[in-house]
Structures are given as C-alpha cells and as structure tokens.
C-alpha cells in the first residue's frame, strides 16, 4: 500500500473508442505515474456520477485504457466521456494475475473480459510465453477489443453464440474443443460469471491451472467494508482477489450467489 497515493490521480480523456453499441474504451493520460499489474483494478470516479471498479485494458504508466460496458448509471456516464473530460482514479487494488506459473497460457475473455486480459497477454509475450486468446460474444457486433488484439499480433480465436463469425457456440463449448486439440498448462479468464464457472470446472476436470477474475459489488476497495465478499469462504474480492485460483473457489458461491448492495444474498444471473 505504501507506493499508493492517498488521494485520487487525475486523468484526462485523450480519446473515446467505440467498441460495440454497449462498450467503449477510454484512452486516458495520467496526471501522475501509476503502476498497475495485469489483473489489478482501479476505482474510477467522476464527481456526481459515482465511482466503479475497472480493470484497465492497457497500461504503460503514463497512459491507461479503460474498456467499459454500459450497465447502469456510472458505467454509462463514464463510457460517454469525450476528449478533454476528466476522471479521478484511486488504486491500484487487488492482487492481479500470477504469471509466474510455467507452461502455455490460454486466455478466455467474454464481454469486456478480452480487454481486461490484454495487459496479462502483453506481459506473457514480453516473457516469451506461448499464448492463445479466445474471445467470445453473442454475435459479430458484440466482440470487444478484437481489432486491438489483432494490432498487438495476438493469436486469437473467436466464438459467437449465433455463429456470425468464428466458432458457432458459447465460449465454454469452444474452450472444450480447443483444449481437446492442444494442452495448455494455464488458463486465465474474465467474463460473465456463469461462463467463468464452466471454464473453471472444465479446467478442474482436465488438470489445468485456472485463474478467474471475480466481480462483486466493490465499495471501499480496501478490504474493510465487506461488500465484495465471496461466501461462505469469506474471501474479499477487493483484497484477496479479484483474481482467484479456481480450485480455491469452486464449490463456493462462485457462479451461484453474490450479495447485492444491501448485503442480501442473491443469485448470480450473468
């Protein structure tokens, strides 16, 4: 925590890139150097519009990209910002991915997950590790970050639910097919929780080490409000996660239940 500032870092929107009808990427210039490890997240604040957790989709210390899906008020406002407008960032928070495990890596991104996995991909490339990137969406208009990943020379394969491009089927179905063809020692996944739990179970059956990035309602981001807890194990997504070894959380509320803003236990729907 010592390297962190005790105030928000100001950042200016350089450009706003449209990914899909629901998703935009903000390119931000930071007012101050910020080191974010792959898989860590930031709390992104706009006075009056709220503050939400986002895992950056690119970072280099001075510039940072946030790929944001419009799901509610705060995310919609942020995703609509124009060049010159400002946001305020605190963090980085959470543990991030462990990229030290040996072997090949299969990255599986659903929705904005492909974007959030990109810093991990770049780190693996830098380390000379072999990777394959699976990106999924409902149809060809729902794919996020594919152009960026092509630009970065990523080895990508696509799955769409309607078959409009790539494999015809869901990401978990495609995943099964891919790992039957070639073995990967490691899987990193970010996406809808129902999707991630299927990937995690498949990894469990096949002896693959799987790291998942969980979403819960993050309020404080620093481990003391209990809003983001995964029960019944009592793990806090904001400090014990957001990345978990799937083995550690299979059989918990992962994929089944979360807590709403009042702390009521509710079913995971996505």
């Amino acid at each position: 925590m010592s390297s962190k500032t005790h105030y928000y870092v100001e950042a200016e929107v350089v450009s706003n890139i449209i990914e899909t009808s629901r998703v935009n990427t903000l390119v931000l210039k930071l007012g101050q150097h910020m080191e974010v490890k792959p898989g860590q997240f930031l709390m992104v604040w706009r006075p009056g519009d709220g503050e939400i957790p986002i895992t950056p989709s690119l970072t280099n210390g001075e510039t940072i990209c946030l790929t944001i899906e419009r799901v509610g008020l705060t995310s919609s406002r942020l995703a609509s910002l124009k060049a010159g407008e400002r946001v305020f960032l605190r963090g980085p928070y959470g543990n991030g991915f462990n990229l030290e495990y040996p072997g090949k890596y299969l990255l599986v991104g659903g929705g904005t997950g492909a974007a959030s996995l990109t810093p991990a991909y770049l780190k693996l490339v830098e380390k000379g590790v072999q990777t394959l990137f699976l990106v999924g969406g409902r149809n060809r208009d729902n794919l996020v970050y594919v152009n960026k990943l092509r630009e970065l020379n990523a080895n990508i394969r696509i799955a769409t639910d309607d078959g409009s491009v790539g494999f015809h089927g869901t990401l978990p179905e495609f995943f099964k097919k891919i790992i039957a063809e070639s073995f990967f020692e490691n899987v990193l996944t970010i996406g809808p929780e129902k999707m991630m739990v299927k990937i995690a179970e498949e990894c469990h059956r096949n002896g693959i080490r799987c790291q998942v990035s969980l979403v819960r309602i993050v309020k404080c981001g620093i481990g003391f409000c209990g809003s983001c807890v995964l029960d019944p194990v009592g793990l806090r997504v904001c400090v014990d996660g957001p990345v978990f070894n799937a083995e550690e959380i299979l059989g918990t509320d992962f994929g089944a239940y979360m807590r709403d803003e009042a702390g009521r236990r509710v079913e995971v729907t996505l």
């Binding site: 007012g31 709220g50 305020f88 003391f224 807890v229 009521r264």
Partner: protein, 307 residues
C-alpha cells in the same frame, strides 16, 4: 508462565480481549466465521442491522487518507429479518460470542429487533453513534433522553449483555453513557467514528457522495483513549475501547485507560494479511504482560488511573 488473557465482560467470557468492531466486515457471515476461527479473537460484533434493509450510499463511500480512513457507507445491511436467518445458521458454526449490532431509529424498532434477534445472539451492541445516517445513529445518540428510552426498550426484551456504542461527536460522552447505564446498559463501547469530510483538490469537490462521513483509524486513537479514560472515571460498568487500534501498544493504551476489552476496525484494511493482525496484537500484549510481571490481562485495566 503464560499470562491469562481471558476476560469477563458483562457476563460473557472471552478467550481474548480482542474483538472485531462492528461494520468493518460487512454482513458476510462467511467472513465473520473466517475471523472467528482466529484463536486471538475473543468476540465478533456484526455489522449494524437496521429495521429496514438499506443499500447504503453511492460510491465513493470510503477512502484511505494514510493517517486514517474516511467512510460514509450509509449502513448498508439486509435488514434485521433477512439477517436473522443468516445469523441463525452462523451461530451454530462459531465458537466465540456473537454480538449483534442494531441501529434502531426509535424505541419501537429497538424492541422489535431485540425480540426477534435475541435467540440468535450472545449479546447486543446498540449503535447510537453512526455520524452519517439520517434518523439513525448520532441523530438518536446525541440526545440523552432518546438514548435512555431506546436503551430501556431494548433492555426490556433481553437479559443478554447489552452494550451501548457511543459517539465522540457530542459535547459530553459521559452524559450520554450515564443515561444508557441508568436505562440498563451493561457496558459501553467507545468510540464510533468522528464526523468529518475530505475535498479532492483537483476535482474541487467533496470526495464522499454523502459529503460527510466518519473518520476512523490511526488519527482517532487519542480521542478514543481520552473518552475511555473519562468514562472509566465516572462509570461503574465495563468499557470496550475502540478507535485506531493497530498494534499491541495501542491496545494496551486503551486498557490502561480503562477498557476491559478492545475492538479492532480499520486496521484490518491495512495489509493483505490484514486478518493476521489479531494474532500479532495478542502476542504483543502477552509479551508486554510478561515483561511487566503481570499474570493476567485483567490486572491492567484502568492502571493509568491509580495514583
């Protein structure tokens, strides 16, 4: 010889004087269970539950100031009826006293909640001190008459230990605490957070969506120690010290001021191994007792007062 760390608090026997403060772990029963398994934790206080469910305030709700923390969570909780079911399940699974914190806004709510939750708790802490929620907490807890009425209503429906948690945001904490004790409180917990705020200099706006919040952590310890010291001078009931306790030295300071037990809140946010903090504090207290030649923790309570 290992000094005896056991304390007796308003009829509860705690294996250690270190408790978990209300709210810092939210409503998660999983997290409460995880913490209760730590042998250095003597009791847990739950998140404050209110009569109706509350979502809490919009983010930003909390920030780390370095010298302390500022929060206006807005008492998010599932409401007492929903939470009762979870507590019932939890209570069978933990081995230490479970103190349920309630935040009634009037006497009727206090009676209803205590009646309903009595069978799933080992004691109650009445939160009459949250500095940032309308019609709850401090709005109730700064008026000695209201404190008297609400405490009496809760007392009527439970014979279990009843703690009243007081706020530092009043002119006379002693007056409020005395009203609570006269109405039947068994012990006083001091202190809750200090009303405060922060403004971001680049955004030129208050940081918390609620504007005002409560200051906790390192910065408030001297305020907590002062209030515990004052209460010990005037009251005959046990005091639970809270506010900015990060290590054994902080804990011992509160005990010397008059606290029979202490609560840890914000400090658990300070490191990734945050939950180990309880073990570290207990170890430090034990070493301190040994160094001072004391055979038990009870001999330390209020020692700073004797001339």
């Amino acid at each position: 010889m290992h000094p005896d760390m056991k304390v007796e608090l308003a009829g509860l026997v705690l294996r250690s004087p270190i408790m978990v403060a209300s709210g810092v772990l939210g409503s998660s029963t999983g997290l409460i269970k995880r913490v209760s398994e730590n042998p250095s934790v003597g009791a847990v206080v739950t998140k404050t539950v209110t009569y109706n469910p509350r979502n809490g305030y919009e983010n930003p709700t909390a920030i780390d100031l370095g010298f302390g923390f500022l929060n206006a969570m807005g008492l998010p909780n599932p409401g007492y009826l929903d939470y009762k079911n979870e507590l019932a399940e939890l209570r069978d699974k933990i081995e230490i006293p479970l103190i349920v914190s309630i935040g009634p806004s009037n006497s009727e709510e206090a009676s209803e909640m205590v009646k309903a939750l009595n069978e799933v708790s080992d004691g109650f802490e009445l939160n009459l001190s949250c500095p940032h929620t309308e019609k709850l907490g401090l709005e109730v807890g700064s008026d000695p008459e209201k404190v008297r009425r609400i405490t009496a209503s809760a007392r009527k429906y439970t014979s279990k230990p009843l703690f009243i948690k007081v706020s530092p945001n009043v002119t006379s904490v002693v007056e409020i605490a005395r009203a609570a004790v006269e109405a039947g409180a068994d012990a006083i917990t001091a202190i809750n957070t200090l009303k405060s705020m922060a403004i971001d200099v680049n955004a030129m706006k208050p940081v918390l969506s609620n504007v005002y919040g409560g200051l906790s952590g390192r910065a408030i310890r001297p305020v907590g120690v002062r209030i515990v010291y004052e209460l010990y001078e005037t009251l005959r009931v046990p005091i639970v010290g809270c506010g900015g306790i990060y290590d054994w030295r902080d804990a011992v300071e509160f005990i010397l001021a008059g606290a029979s037990a202490i609560q840890v809140g914000s400090a658990i946010a300070c490191s990734r191994s945050g939950l180990n903090i309880f073990g570290e504090i207990e170890k430090g207290i034990v070493e301190y007792l040994v160094a001072k030649g004391l055979s038990n923790i009870r001999g330390l309570v209020g020692l700073a007062h004797t001339s």
